[in-house]
């Protein structure tokens, strides 16, 4: 079997050209395997996975060569992780020592997951569609309106724990339908194609004095008569007078309403509408100090012999407005409208003006310079409008809508900078600007980023820009979207602790708990603190409700503030309500879920999924005499060897935190039974309290925590899963950040400077 290592390689004629270098490596690695790795494997693994045994469908001796191993990377990733995470050999079996484990893992990394440090693969980021959150922020920034459109769009699918993964952001017809709709909603807010408006003075009917009665805000004229109102000074010019009125019909003619200005009759309207209509007329007014507007009812009618509803004619005046001068300066349109519709140059043709509007808009929307002939294509809408008798404004609005559903807007194209080396090229400056702004702000680049990219200066100023971006309020979106998903805080909306068991958990508390953890994350971010502060902080951010819940005195009111935790057993995230509640069931804690969360999210050692068809632990303790504590029940469950190795990893962590109940309160007993929280991690360290466990995490697991931070940030920043070829990039990020004590900005910078962020595969 393994003796055949080098010989087998000679059969690989087709691949020789490609793997020429690889063969030399494979050769020496094969040698190393035979001499150093194989003996350990034979000793500790072959009882079940070799020499004819194939537990779990794994026969290690079925792999004759490194090339065969490389061809089955999926399996070897499992083998590697099972050894690295101490899932194998199972507990109670003879196991290799730490040094031997490390050796095997290193060999697998070098041989099966080899990465060439001189020529790293930046990987392929699948063309990313904006997700709903990004879409909403982008359209808001682009149009300058607070459009709420994310609810119109279909829910996004997610992968690798995040909802910005290119591969799963698919686009269905439903999306297209909704993008058209969302563009319409946003443009309705941003663009104003109504006729120009002028300053107007408006008075309600009830402000008129004279005849009639005031009823609500209206003036009711039940008999013939008139009422007047006095207005301010007006300038000379043409004015539009609008009266909103209605009438009760009776007799054989309509109610007659006369309007006079300064005592002079302007016109008489017949008011027929019982629900109210607007009656308009234009008047020429000279420059004058004051203005008297009079409304009169001219033809009252009353006949008791008529049936109810046909008996009495009345006039109701709701409102009068005088708008103008119509030949003066119209009112300014909204800022969002003016930002898009720039001022038209005198003598500019429709085409010229439309291009002047479209070019900057396209560049912003597509997050790159406008391509040759690109803006001109939109003139099609002008020709279409002209042939249908529509206005230039209509044409431009249609063109804007077309931009908003264009693939160049909806997808994030990330072209190379054109200077390509073997296998990879730098992404263009504009693509880099986009990557940065969606990473930290979940939106399109702002003017400054665009300007730097236009001048080819962003890459040179990366450090400064990152600092600026993190300090900008928009980085709050990084808290909501990155931390919200990494630490699963978004799931707080869905926690539903049982009302009988946890009556103390009030509806607002989920929001408070989320806010607490977000505040801590924000604090680390804005204070540029070491990221391990998330775990070690001996302070937290709470309001009165949470303080009471935690048993902390002296915090009053709804406002969140920094509060010391000295003298309490709580430290960092693992002592916060969000984590402790998220990882609990409705009626009890779940040590398994608590352990799993820590391994998956904080240590980047996700335990493999439970084997299929093995029932998970039940939620409720059996009632009656033979009732087991949760711990005893879990221990029984762990006796099953299928389950044991994995639970040995997860459970001690969860048990170490059992002093916190299912909604994060401190407790000494569980249902009358004293809690035993002592335990031993799979790596051998023993502890007797959550505090001691945390000390071990901070001391011995810092490297793993840092790795998790790097992996999660890189996944989020790239919008793709991390692959084996990213190992060096991740090592690099961890190393760089650790040199700065793991401070927050160092992580962001290291991610932004990493090969997969800076380059694209080609």
């Amino acid at each position: 079997m393994i003796d055949s290592f080098p010989q087998h390689l000679s059969g690989l004629c087709v691949a020789v050209a490609f793997f020429a270098v690889g063969i030399v490596r494979a050769d020496s690695l094969g040698e190393q395997y035979r001499k150093e790795i194989l003996p350990i494997m034979v000793e500790y693994c072959y009882d079940c996975h070799g020499d004819g045994s194939s537990e779990g469908h794994l026969e290690l001796d079925s792999y004759g060569t490194v090339v065969e191993m490389v061809a089955d990377r999926r399996q070897w990733k499992r083998i590697r992780d099972h050894i690295d995470f101490r899932l194998m050999p199972p507990p109670d079996e003879y196991a290799p020592n730490e040094e031997q484990r490390a050796k095997i893992v290193k060999w697998i990394d070098d041989a099966v997951f080899h990465v060439d440090p001189d020529n790293p693969d930046p990987g392929h980021v699948t063309l990313r569609r904006l997700n709903r959150t990004e879409y909403e922020y982008t359209i808001r920034d682009l149009l300058g309106v607070e459009a709420e459109v994310s609810d119109i769009l279909p829910v996004d699918d997610s992968g690798y724990g995040f909802d910005n993964i290119g591969d799963v952001l698919t686009l269905s017809p439903l999306h297209m339908e909704r993008y058209l709709e969302a563009a319409e909603v946003a443009l309705n807010m941003a663009v104003d194609l109504s006729p120009p408006r002028f300053p107007a003075k408006v008075v309600t009917g009830s402000q008129f004095s004279g005849a009639g009665v005031r009823s609500g805000s209206a003036l009711m004229l039940a008999t013939n008569g008139e009422a007047s109102v006095h207005g301010d000074h007006v300038g000379a010019g043409r004015y539009l007078v609008t009266v909103r009125a209605r009438a009760d019909a009776a007799g054989d003619e309509a109610a007659k309403m006369e309007i006079k200005i300064d005592g002079k009759s302007v016109t008489v309207w017949e008011v027929t509408d019982g629900n109210g209509s607007e009656y308009r007329t234009e008047v020429e007014l000279g420059e004058q100090k004051g203005l008297k507007v009079t409304i009169g009812f001219l033809n009252d009618y009353y006949d008791e012999s008529q049936p109810e509803g046909k008996r009495d004619r009345n006039l109701l005046v709701e409102q009068v407005s005088i708008e103008g001068p119509l030949d003066g300066v119209p009112l300014k349109r909204t800022a969002s409208h003016l930002a898009i519709f720039s001022e038209r140059q005198s003598g500019q043709s429709d085409e010229g003006y439309m291009l002047a509007v479209m070019k900057p808009f396209i560049a912003k929307a597509f997050r790159r310079p406008v391509k040759e002939g690109e803006a001109e294509r939109y003139l099609m809408f002008l020709r279409h409008a002209e042939s249908h008798g529509e206005s230039l404004g209509y044409a431009i609005r249609q063109a804007l809508a077309a931009v908003l559903v264009s693939p160049s807007f909806l997808f994030r194209e990330e072209p190379g900078a054109g200077k390509s080396a073997a296998g990879k090229e730098l992404v263009s400056e504009h693509a880099l600007a986009s990557r940065l702004s969606y990473f930290l702000w979940s939106t399109m680049p702002d003017g400054r980023l665009r300007g730097l990219a236009d001048r080819d200066e962003l890459r040179k100023n990366l450090d400064v820009e990152i600092r600026r971006m993190v300090a900008d309020p928009r980085s709050e979106r990084f808290v909501r979207n990155f931390a919200g998903q990494w630490l699963q805080l978004r799931d707080m909306d869905a926690v539903n602790p049982d009302k009988r068991e946890y009556g103390v958990f009030k509806p607002d508390m989920a929001k408070d708990m989320r806010e607490e953890t977000e505040s801590l994350f924000r604090h680390v971010m804005s204070g540029n603190l070491p990221v391990h502060t998330l775990l070690s902080a001996d302070y937290t951010f709470i309001n009165e409700r949470l303080a009471q819940h935690y048993g902390i005195q002296g915090v009053e009111g709804d406002a969140f503030r920094k509060v010391s935790l000295k003298g309490t057993p709580r430290r960092g995230l693992l002592g916060q309500g969000s984590y402790l509640t998220l990882t609990s069931h409705a009626t009890r804690t779940s040590p398994v879920l608590r352990g799993k969360y820590v391994l998956e999210n904080l240590f980047d050692t996700p335990p493999p999924p439970a084997p299929p068809n093995v029932p998970a632990l039940d939620d409720r303790r059996r009632k009656g005499k033979d009732s087991l504590t949760l711990r005893q029940e879990l221990e029984a469950h762990r006796k099953d060897p299928d389950c044991a190795s994995c639970h040995a990893l997860m459970d001690p962590i969860g048990f170490g935190l059992e002093n916190f109940d299912g909604v994060g309160r401190w407790r000494e007993n569980d249902r009358g039974k004293p809690l035993d929280v002592a335990g031993k991690l799979v790596t051998g360290q023993e502890f007797s309290s959550s505090g001691e466990m945390l000390d071990i995490f901070l001391k011995d697991y810092r490297g793993q925590f840092h790795r998790a931070v790097a992996v999660k940030m890189l996944t989020y920043a790239l919008g793709r899963g991390v692959e084996y070829y990213d190992r060096l990039a991740i090592d690099g990020i961890v190393l760089k950040a650790s040199q700065d004590d793991g401070r927050f900005l160092a992580w962001i910078t290291a991610v932004a400077e990493s090969v997969p962020f800076q380059y694209r595969r080609n």
């Binding site: 591969d167 017809p173 039940d618 409720r620 899963g721």
Partner: protein
């Protein structure tokens, strides 16, 4: 081809000037009513002892609420989804159950890259006959919005939350807001406004189609699939615009929903109502309805259950859990019975809507504690396609669920050689 399509669209644009766009009653000639098809998904398996009939009568404790409807449905036995079994892929039965249910394919195990499953039966049919109605197919859901992105055992959430798949890599997301569903079926209620909107959309879609072609030229091969999705979506909406003008329908304005319902029960019923409306007006003939995704941890305060469904479904044989599962099963069956009653009371042709509809109701897991995918809990209701109801219909051991789908495709007037893992037809339903 593209030229023809565009000419076609322009031709339609010209006819838009006609004054009355909202015609009263369908403009389609009155013929025999068409056959409709619906799929309704229940998550997390069932209380097996209570759900399945003990003998050959189509009744059981759980199915009690369907008592008055016994001649209108049958219980199906021995239909399996073998592709929902691990088959070497390890954990993740909930994701697989959901993803396999209408596709009959093994979901490629990935958290994101290279998602692959298969086209679902409803979409296979919709592609063939969907052009005959305003809306080719209607995907509904009452699942709450998703939050952070962690799903079952290394499977992307796309598998666990989508029932319908337009292609092997593109799901057809479902709608959960009844107002939007109504608008999709019947428009805004202002026919003139809708016509103007369609006209505007047509010229925009025409324009971006060209955008996409140019964009596509700049992409490397790995990303071309994305632009293919985009182009398909554009074409689909264009077709829908054409159909909206071709098949005009009276808007049942009094049934326009006014918002998101407060309770789960109301939400389920209003979505069933939307489905029935779509069928009744012949606005669509195909619909899927995900009551909740598999693995759903929803609690049921309305029936006094505060623990999550998924957690309870791992019952370990405990009576308390089994009892709660049965109550949840019954809750879902009660809503289904309400829907069948509604269909039965809706006239259609010379009979009622239930006479002309085929409805598959069930889930991709049999027992939540075992995560098994054989002899699934399934009902087949309605009399469309000459289904013979009021029975327990036994398949041979190991019959793929997808054989049923092949037979349903036939009855919808569609054609398919196979669906997922089908190996024949299941004709005992007639």
């Amino acid at each position: 081809m593209a030229e023809n399509r565009r000419t076609f669209l322009k031709g339609l644009a010209a006819t838009l000037a006609l004054p009355s766009l909202q015609s009263v009653g369908a403009t389609v000639a009155k013929t025999a009513p068409p056959t409709r098809l619906a799929f309704v998904y229940i998550p997390n398996g069932v209380n097996v002892g209570q759900w399945f009939p003990s003998g050959n009568e189509n009744t059981s404790g759980t199915l009690e609420a369907l008592g008055g409807l016994r001649e209108h449905y049958s219980v199906l036995r021995n239909l399996d989804h073998d592709k929902a079994v691990a088959n070497g892929d390890g954990g993740g039965d909930h994701a697989r159950a959901n993803a396999t249910f209408l596709t009959g394919c093994q979901a490629r195990k990935t958290a994101g890259s290279d998602i692959r499953i298969g086209e679902s039966v409803d979409q296979i049919i919709a592609k063939q006959i969907g052009h005959r109605t305003r809306v080719p197919s209607l995907e509904l859901s009452t699942d709450p919005p998703r939050r952070s992105g962690n799903c079952d055992s290394g499977y992307s959430c796309a598998y666990q939350y989508n029932l319908s798949w337009r292609s092997e890599s593109t799901p057809a997301p479902a709608e959960r807001d009844p107002r939007m569903v109504f608008e999709k079926l019947f428009g805004s209620g202002n026919a003139r406004f809708d016509a103007i909107r369609r006209e505007k959309q047509k010229s925009i879609l025409d324009f971006v189609m060209e955008d996409a072609k140019r964009f596509n030229k700049r992409l490397d091969s790995a990303d071309k699939g994305k632009m293919e999705e985009y182009l398909t979506a554009v074409r689909d909406i264009e077709m829908r615009i054409v159909n909206a003008e071709k098949f005009q329908v009276e808007v049942p304005e009094e049934q326009r929903p006014d918002g998101m319902p407060d309770s789960y029960q109301q939400h389920i019923r209003i979505m069933y109502e939307m489905m029935a409306l779509g069928f009744q007006t012949d606005t669509t003939r195909i619909s899927t309805f995900l009551l909740a995704h598999d693995g759903s941890g929803r609690s049921f305060p309305e029936i006094g259950i505060s623990d999550g469904h998924h957690q309870i479904s791992h019952h370990q044989g405990k009576l308390e859990n089994l009892d709660q599962i049965a109550r949840i099963d019954k809750f879902y069956v009660e809503q289904f019975a309400w829907f069948l009653e509604k269909m039965k009371n809706t006239p259609d042709g010379n009979g009622n809507l239930l006479d002309n509809t085929m409805i598959v109701y069930g889930g991709g897991i049999r027992d939540g504690d075992r995560h098994d995918h054989a002899d699934l809990p399934l009902l087949l209701a309605g009399h469309g396609g000459n289904l013979r109801q009021g029975r327990v219909i036994h398949a041979d051991q190991g019959t793929p669920m997808t054989n049923l789908y092949l037979s349903l495709i036939d009855r919808m007037g569609g054609q398919a050689e196979r669906v997922g893992d089908s190996n024949g037809k299941f004709e005992r339903i007639s």
